[in-house]
């Protein structure tokens, strides 16, 4: 793939990616200076180096979905505090802060919309809200997005950006992994495609559930993707981590993901994959194929 320059990869001293603020931004790979307005127009991808800065869920949806076709669902599903959890501050105080700082109601936005005319159920995570951590609200919203796809016979697309499970909801967070995975079993039984898109970063419990259950798994270049944290692995094993460990490029080589796709090409690529797996063209109309007769004999 020669559409972008391969980023320099390091396991230690990885620069913390955040959405740039101010007038201009320096590319951490090439050092080139980019005006933020240009960067935003280019979906936060540095034009020359191809470096991907994080992007919010709303911008992502705007870039992926046919204009005027997105309908948000479950906006009112929000985090509760089942454990009355307090560390340095009470958990509800943290939630209120994330809401204020991110302008989001939760770490995922879900809805229905069209990609080049193909109706899909979409869930897009946003790392800015509590590091994209999955608690009861995120788990419920993602489960509903999958169930919506199953009920409406639509493909499901989930774009992940998450540090993992949300500790402040304890065991309930862990159970979201089982819940979302079980919902995907039903989607799979219905022979509807699930495309999982991994973005920087996708780690922990989110990788150990829906994010790695895609029929097709795509990743953005340079994304950190892994189960255990690099520090934990180093401490446990006392080993030096290989170059590029837990990056999208490393995982492509190790057979986990199907393709690395630039954010700029994602919309077209999703269409191309859905055209093969799902859509059967009948004139101008598109519809889902009938499931084969053998559909009942799974597993």
């Amino acid at each position: 793939m020669a559409h972008f320059t391969k980023p320099k990869l390091a396991t230690s001293g990885r620069k913390k990616k955040s959405i740039p603020e101010g007038l201009w931004t320096k590319c951490p790979v090439s050092g080139e200076i980019v005006y933020n307005k240009d960067l935003e127009e280019n979906l936060m991808v540095v034009p020359k180096s191809g470096y991907h800065f994080p992007i919010g869920a709303a911008q992502r949806i705007k870039a992926l979905i046919d204009e005027g076709t997105f309908k948000e669902y479950d906006r009112n599903v929000k985090s509760a505090d089942p454990l009355q959890f307090v560390d340095s501050v009470p958990y509800p105080t943290r939630i209120a802060r994330y809401e204020k700082e991110s302008g989001l109601t939760e770490a995922v936005i879900c809805g229905m919309g069209r990609i080049h005319g193909i109706e899909v159920s979409l869930a897009v995570m946003d790392f800015r809200f509590c590091g994209g951590a999955m608690g009861g609200a995120v788990g419920e919203k993602i489960t509903r997005a999958v169930e919506r796809a199953t009920a409406g016979k639509n493909p499901c697309i989930i774009i992940s950006a998450s540090g993992g499970a949300r500790m402040q909801e304890g065991i309930f967070s862990l159970m979201q992994m089982a819940k979302t995975s079980a919902a995907l079993a039903r989607l799979s039984d219905a022979r509807l495609p699930f495309i999982s898109v991994l973005t920087h970063p996708t780690t922990g419990g989110v990788t150990a559930s829906f994010a790695l259950l895609g029929d097709v798994i795509l990743a953005e270049p340079g994304a950190l993707i892994g189960f255990a944290g690099a520090r934990v692995i180093k401490e446990t094993t006392k080993q030096t981590l290989p170059a590029g460990f837990q990056t999208a490029e490393f995982l492509l080589q190790h057979g986990l993901i199907d393709q690395i796709v630039s954010r700029l090409e994602m919309r077209d690529r999703l269409r191309d994959i859905l055209l093969a797996l799902f859509v059967r063209q009948t004139g101008t109309e598109t519809k889902a194929p009938a499931a084969p007769e053998t559909a009942a004999t799974v597993g």
Partner: protein, 323 residues
């Protein structure tokens, strides 16, 4: 009682009383004094202190009991509760993971498939068992055995006892997260009855990777948590030493999990923990497994799959306003 049983920090008073008894015994051997009355008095105090300490264990102390080096492990329960265990090795892809074992066995005349995480008793065995932390091939072996069970109509019983899936380079290179994710999805649609029991440590995704079952049971002193108390403390309190605080905040003890609906039953342990009376513990587990299996066996495959889906579907707390 073997005094080496009192190895935990909070068992210090018991260790001291034991020492006093030993000294009296020793003294009695060396002189002609009758110390039996003294010994009886201290023994009575020991029993009393035991009751005091063990009947009011804090959540963190329970975690220490769950990790007790003498605690019964899966092979102990397998030997006590099952007959004709045929261990089946390997994931048929990479290698045989010794931290996660499995195979067929008979349970009161019923053929079952067992899947179990296994720790080692000593350093040598722990190296073989990887301290009970499975690699991806362990989860893939588990899934292979569960599919085998489904093919031949055997109920599946899983014993959960792991600090977590192994955080290692090879584990990541062979995609442990994918293996755990696939197990959850596939366990959700198994067409046979499935039961899991958290017998010691229910360490996060590593536990859940064999835990998506119709029934989830837990031993009284076991725990089941999204992250280890130490891990949570390191992140939220910036210090692993705050593990006790993190344990309490996360409400990971068995009784909480029962109240949350995360487990169907808490299986009682003898005073001080399962290791103080393994036979009694095994009997309690036997009764619980028989009961739950008897309830699941009459259900059709469709009912089992639906029941399991609904069970996990309702777990999770959130608010939803209508505007």
């Amino acid at each position: 009682m073997d005094k080496r049983a009192y190895v935990l920090e909070f068992e210090k008073p018991l260790r001291e009383l034991e020492k006093q008894i030993d000294e009296l015994h020793q003294g009695a051997l060396e002189s002609d004094h009758d110390v039996s009355a003294d010994i009886a008095a201290i023994e009575a105090k020991l029993e009393e202190t035991k009751k005091e300490i063990y009947s009011s264990l804090t959540p963190w102390q329970r975690v220490l009991v769950a990790r007790h080096p003498k605690r019964p492990y899966a092979p102990d329960y397998i030997a006590a509760l099952f007959e004709n265990f045929q261990e089946l090795h390997g994931d048929r892809q990479f290698r045989d993971d010794r931290a996660l074992i499995g195979g067929t066995a008979m349970f009161h005349g019923q053929a079952v498939m067992l899947v179990a995480q296994q720790k080692g008793r000593d350093t040598k065995e722990n190296i073989v068992r990887n301290f009970g932390m499975p690699n991806p091939e362990g989860y893939r072996k588990a899934l292979r055995l569960m599919h085998l069970a489904e093919k031949f109509g055997l109920p599946v019983i899983c014993f959960i006892d792991t600090p977590g899936a192994f955080p290692g380079i090879g584990s990541e290179e062979r995609h442990v997260a994918e293996a755990i994710a696939v197990n959850q999805r596939e366990m959700a649609r198994l067409r046979v009855p499935t039961i899991s029991v958290v017998i010691g440590e229910g360490g996060s995704g590593g536990a859940l990777g064999i835990g998506v079952t119709n029934r989830v049971l837990i031993m009284e002193n076991a725990y089941y948590s999204v992250i280890s108390p130490e891990g949570c403390a390191a992140i939220l309190w910036k210090d692993r030493a705050n593990a006790a605080k993190a344990t309490e905040a996360m409400k990971i003890s068995a009784q909480y999990l029962f109240e949350f609906g995360v487990v169907e039953e808490v299986i009682p342990e003898p005073l001080g923990g399962a290791h103080n009376d393994p036979a009694q513990t095994a009997a309690a587990l036997d009764a619980a497994l028989r009961k739950h299996l008897a309830e699941l066996l009459p259900l059709s495959s469709d009912e089992l799959v639906r029941q399991r889906y609904d069970r996990f579907r309702r777990l999770g707390v959130y608010t939803e306003t209508t505007t």
